[in-house]
Amino acid sequence: MRYIALFGALLTAVLAAALVRGAGPEKGVASSHREAPVISEDPTADNTDVYAFVSPDRPDTVTIVANYIPLEEPAGGPNFNQFADDVLYELKVDNNGDGREDVSYQFVFTTQTRNGDTFLYNTGPITSLGDPDFNRPQSYKVTRVTRDQTTVLGRNLKSPPVNIGPRSNPDYGSLMRAAVQQLPGGIKAFAGQADDPFYVDLGSVFDLAGLRPFNPAHVIPLAADDGVDGVGGYNTHTIALQVPIKQLTRDGKLHDADDREAVLGVYATASRQKVQVIDSNGRRRDSGDWVQVSRLAEPLINEVVIPLRKKDRWNASDPSDDADFVQHYTSPELTRLANALYPALDNAPENGRGDIAAILLTGVPGLNFTGPTKADLIRLNTGIPPSAPVGEGDRLGVLSGDFAGFPNGRRLEDDVTDIELRALTCGYGPTVGPLIESLGFCAGNANRSPNNQLGDGVDTNDRPFQKTFPYVAAPHQGYDHAHHGLMGGL
């Protein structure tokens, strides 16, 4: 109690100091010189999630799904979201464990305006991808890039329109199906709007970091309740690619699960054109040069692991540079938060968390280990066959003994929020716990309770996934959207 009183006094002092310093005599003025915004978001180049899994209906292929543009409101007119023409979107695969991409797929978009006299997205029902009433269609080019070869796999590939409503898109399903592109070598591609497959209880988490099922265990207890999917009803823009595994492995062959060469490291990036004031040769536009503005592999890294002042640097860096950030994995902030917020939890070690570094940076021995190089990649062991059709895998993946799921790759249905919460609090459960303990982590107990039950109470996506490529659900329609300020200003 002595400490508590002291802390209260300290807080009062800090507060008083802050108030005094804040109450300066300064008055405001409006500005007239030209000022760019200090901080602005760039959602069209903002990579929200990456998924990689062996395709259940075509098990000799890998499907990679990269989503851009967060929290798209379906009723988003008149300026509907779309891919940016001057952003380079890339899906990248490392097949030799050095954290550098060996095979990349580049997506570059072109927006056509069919009728320059109108700002309208469409001037009548869109019944096909080539419909003249579709006023602002997007098409894209896919290029495969390796160290020695650049191959254009497809040009003028059409994207579907956004899902506006029953008048504009009377049969959205047919448009989405028509937008699945068959590329040479058995590759399929899709790029367009989709339901955001991610699910999490935003509403509760915003309310003092609540997890509704664990409400009684919170420092401010409430009655326990079911979770609510805060991402439900929101769309995103998906780039999906399905590629035969042999086109991705280092030696062009399939490998067994216990062979390290079976493991692929996957990540996605977005880059914008590099411009310079003083460029060489008086060239005005260096269209060959790009600056990476966003990268993503494992979920929640940029959000929870990388601190603010390192974000610009991290987003501009490559996975092979991730050793520079390793302390943020081995001393995860979220573990400290969970320990502080949920006194009822069995406090997990806040430092020395090599288990977290292994899961997120090198892969787990016996599952998807790629060697000593620390790099944030989704590591998919292609030798482990799919365990269920898309959407039917165990949401807790490896924690439940379903080795075809996260953190072996990431499937659409994997509940990465719950899995990561449990891992960070050493609540791995009985299947994985002993392995983590045998590796010397979690201070001898990697199956803490009730940590091994942690979760936000949202266990599935709001829409069922499709059983065939691109698997993501069709986007929510603007006409019947259900959002009315659910997210406030966010």
Binding site: A23, P37, P70, V291
Partner: protein, 438 residues
Amino acid sequence: MIRRRHLFLAVAGVAATAALLGGVLAGNPAAGPAADVNAASAASTLTQGFSPGDTAAYVAQLERRVAEDPRDAEALTLLGLAYQQRVRETGDPSFYPRSAAALRRSLALAPDDDLALTGLAALAASRHRFRDAGRLARRALAANPYSASALGTLGDAKIETGDYEGAFATFDRMAALKPTVGSYARVSYARELLGRTEGAIEAMKLAVSAAAGSTEPAAWALVELGNLYYNSGRLRPAERAYREALARFRDYHRAQAALARVEAANGRVGEAVALYRRALEAVPLPEYAAGLGETLAAAGRKEEAEEAFELVDVIQRLFEANGARTELETALVDLDRGRKLADALARAREAYAARRSIEAEDVLAWALYRNGRCEEARIHSIGALRLGTRDALKLFHRGMIERCLGHGPAAREAFRAALTISPHFSLRWAPVAKEAVR
């Protein structure tokens, strides 16, 4: 990322509060002082991105966070920055002192936080305290050499104090680190200063694209793009850009005032006056009042024009009372109106001493000319054009100065150059230039 950032940031932001409540109120030993410190430091390392949509709601959310936990340095920093964005959107300068207060409180809690320092630097720049802005931006960069936004503000300060080479290098560093609307717009401005209008337009188009997800920044970049067209005499594309800005952000004062200029150039005085008045109602900026005055004067409505010019004076006095340096801006208005000439020259000299930018040097040249000191004026006019900027008004000033010195051919060359860049460069002076080259 935004989503998850918000999400976990919200977690982090409230974590310190929760821990604190747990520790202080409930007396729970598990959430004692040690846990509080951990939670607080954890919270401070997490952040959320700037809201692309509704800034007012974002501000309200951050204010709640700060009310819940007055020690939440990160929320205070973000709030300080969000208040500045509110000024951009509403023109209401009362957000500035709130921004300053929030940022200073944040710095008191987390000294050397680069984002808070960058916010204060941007605030200093908004008040035209460019040396302070540069100093604060350097402190931010010392704390975080990879801060793109601090580089941007440092470059702005260098531009405004006349260190162009340094500014361009800083902008290049910023753009190489993080291409954003801010970096593209700055590269565009630099190219414009160097007279590379097409390159400036290309970079500003990239800025528009990079801002596509945010309302005011996208509209702002569109207005800047329109200005590049307007200043190079292309009224139709300029008008399209301004109208698109208004479509993205309804009643945006910058777009209204810019569109007013197009309407005035096209002789649609009624539309121009209405637009200027709406912009002025939203945000009383001196340049809007001056534009209104010029439009009315050119239409022969002298009394109304006088009223508008008096409004310029009133606004300027308000600015000065609030601590903004406006010597340069007031001097130019007085010089164009042919009054308080000696005093305007003194103010121009003062401004030029404070910031050796080409803008300040051009006003100084014009002030010297209007006071009949054309030899000295010519030296500074040459200085004002030293970067090769294709700025019709500066070239017009040059022409008047050359004519004053009896350099007929040089004067005509300057007038022709100004009119070639844009025959609409000024309602007041373009006719003078046209008369001179006839």
